[in-house]
């Protein structure tokens, strides 16, 4: 049962409807033109072969057949993106949690450090990716300069099959400040009196963290998992700029592959299949997360 709503007089209701739709009309236009319309068109394109400008051929289920039976690049790119998303998100959550716990101590200057820790997330982008290319250089990049100090061998960061993907994970983790800020806000929303009460009961620091902080922080962690996973499944800029999928397709991210099929090979039909699959993957991951969350995420209101 919905709670009974305050009823407006008829003239007033008409007015609210009119102005309501007037104010949201830009969004409705955008939704129809740039979202719902294109979604339907790409749904149709899945059953065609289309290179853009002249003729369009209906091919039935041929695109799906190719996807399942013949496309090695597709399987590879799916694996690359999954490995990348898994490591990026789990490492980012652990590191950002540690950083947030540190800053939550509220020592003098903690806001300065918060700003400093977030800075890399703010400057990431094309310019920074450009600089990463130089830092990962085998002969004179920053990382190998550092390794030399500790007498380690040089690593062929972006040019070797085993190190290329980890290099991208390092790049992503540099922006961990974004996770940290959200994690910190989650920590600060935990009421102090809970900690105080547990301390009075003689709980140790570790027990405090395990039984109070972590459960109360779980909605935040859960949110970061979803958002982080969706974000890292869509990574494109870095991959396109630095390695274009190489060496030996070890960094062929899913969206990078999608871009190549669509705009380099100009196979719009097949690319639409890949795009819709990405949509389905992201949607089901989100739903799965929501379902799993019911088991281990603690929401304050459930206790009441």
């Amino acid at each position: 049962m919905r709670p009974s709503r305050f009823r407006l007089p008829p003239g007033e209701a008409w007015r609210e409807n009119f102005y309501g739709y007037l104010f949201i009309s830009p969004w409705i236009l955008g939704f129809v033109i740039f979202l719902a319309g294109p979604l339907l068109v790409s749904l149709g394109l899945m059953f065609t072969e289309y290179a853009g400008f002249k003729k369009i051929t209906y091919v039935g289920l041929a695109n799906f057949e190719e996807l399942i039976k013949f496309d090695i690049r597709f399987i590879g790119s799916l694996r690359v993106s999954a490995v990348f998303a898994f490591w990026t998100v789990s490492l980012a959550i652990i590191i950002s949690l540690a950083m947030a716990l540190l800053l939550n101590q509220r020592f003098r200057g903690h806001t300065f450090f918060r700003g400093l820790f977030y800075l890399p997330a703010a400057v990431s982008g094309v310019a920074m990716t450009f600089v990463w290319a130089a830092m990962f250089e085998k002969d004179y990049g920053m990382f190998n300069q550092i390794l030399r100090i500790f007498d380690f061998d040089r690593v062929a960061w972006l040019t070797s099959i085993e190190w290329a993907l980890p290099s991208y994970i390092i790049m992503r983790l540099y922006g961990v400040g974004h996770y940290m800020v959200i994690m910190l806000a989650g920590l600060q929303s935990i009421p102090d009196d809970l900690h105080e009460a547990a301390k009075v009961d003689g709980a140790s620091g570790l027990a405090l963290f395990r039984h109070i902080t972590l459960p109360l922080l779980s909605p935040t962690i859960f949110f970061l998992m979803i958002v982080g996973m969706i974000g890292s499944l869509q990574v494109f800029t870095e991959g396109f700029m630095l390695t274009q999928g190489g060496p030996a397709r070890s960094t062929l991210f899913y969206v990078l592959y999608l871009y190549i099929v669509a705009f380099t090979e100009r196979r719009f039909g097949y690319a639409s299949v890949l795009a819709w699959l990405l949509f389905l993957i992201i949607m089901s991951l989100t739903l799965l997360q929501f379902w799993l969350a019911r088991r281990w995420v603690h929401y304050e209101s459930q206790e009441a």
Partner: protein, 300 residues
């Protein structure tokens, strides 16, 4: 008895001081790790190419004379002034359109009671799940039909239609915190919803607009996907798009002309220049930045 207490408290204070020192030590260590790549970039931008290609040991202090002309050389190697102009036009136009329409839509969803509001807002949130790659091909075909390829329009016009679910959500959350009494007072004074939006809502959502504008700015400034697809003519390129070709030309050079052709010093100086505006805006608006991330993050 008294000495016992004093001893206990001094032990407690000692432990507290130790813990504080440890906090600072860890925080400073993390700070150094995070800032180090930026320092490496800044210092590298002032070195000669020859030095950079031979350096195997970390050296953050560039030897004199500092190579300030790296910046000019890199900037003039391609039409970067033109690219900067294009980037500014696109960024400012999308920023303005995004702020205007997102705040309008957010006001509608936060305050006006129209039929189907909840369902539509649920759809707004649902659109965040749709990856832009799904709509990319039909949108590309649409802009092609309209003859908009190689103009600024494909990068600006969509931002004038609500700016994206994220911004609508961010601003709606903020508008919900403004007391409705203000609206009612304006209504009694004879304000229509348009008047309320202009005179009550807009003046009161400054911090949220600041947060949204930072994200909108970063989005346009760093966008590579859009320019890559819609802009093939180098007269319309943005900085991000231009830099990409710059890098590619160098890579091709490298295969043909050997390692010596590789302009690493230009990489670093261009990186520095493109990053400076972002850095500046971040330092000025940092407070709004963090609050924006938090509002959008926590309420999700």
């Amino acid at each position: 008895m008294a000495t016992e207490i004093r001893q206990a408290s001094s032990a407690w204070m000692y432990r507290r001081a130790l813990r504080l020192a440890l906090n600072y030590l860890i925080a400073i260590a993390i700070g150094i790790i995070l800032i180090f790549p930026l320092l490496w970039m800044f210092s590298g931008a002032l070195k000669t190419k020859e030095l950079l290609l031979e350096e195997t040991v970390i050296n953050l202090i560039p030897p004199l004379p500092w190579q300030w002309h790296n910046f000019i050389d890199a900037w003039t190697a391609l039409a970067f002034t033109r690219f900067l102009f294009n980037t500014l036009v696109i960024t400012v136009a999308s920023l303005f359109g995004g702020l205007l329409t997102a705040s309008m839509v957010a006001y509608g969803f936060a305050r006006l009671r129209f039929v189907g509001r909840n369902v539509l807002f649920f759809i707004v949130l649902g659109t965040m799940m749709v990856p832009m790659q799904v709509t990319a091909i039909p949108t590309f075909l649409l802009f092609h039909r309209l003859g908009w390829l190689n103009t600024y329009l494909p990068l600006i016009v969509p931002m004038w239609m609500g700016g994206g679910a994220f911004y609508i959500f961010l601003l709606r959350q903020y508008i919900m915190t403004i007391p409705t009494e203000l609206d009612d007072a304006a209504k009694i004074d004879g304000c229509s919803p348009i008047g309320i939006y202009r005179h009550v809502i807009l003046p009161n959502i400054g911090p949220a607009l600041a947060a949204a504008s930072i994200f909108l700015f970063l989005h346009s400034w760093n966008d590579l996907w859009g320019p890559l697809i819609y802009l093939t003519d180098d007269n319309t390129w943005t900085l991000a798009r231009g830099m990409l070709t710059f890098k590619r030309t160098l890579a091709e050079f490298r295969h043909g002309g050997g390692l010596r052709q590789y302009q690493i010093h230009w990489f670093l100086s261009l990186g520095t220049m493109t990053m400076l505006p972002v850095l500046f805006i971040y330092l000025v608006l940092q407070r709004h930045f963090v609050s924006g991330v938090v509002t959008s993050g926590l309420k999700g």
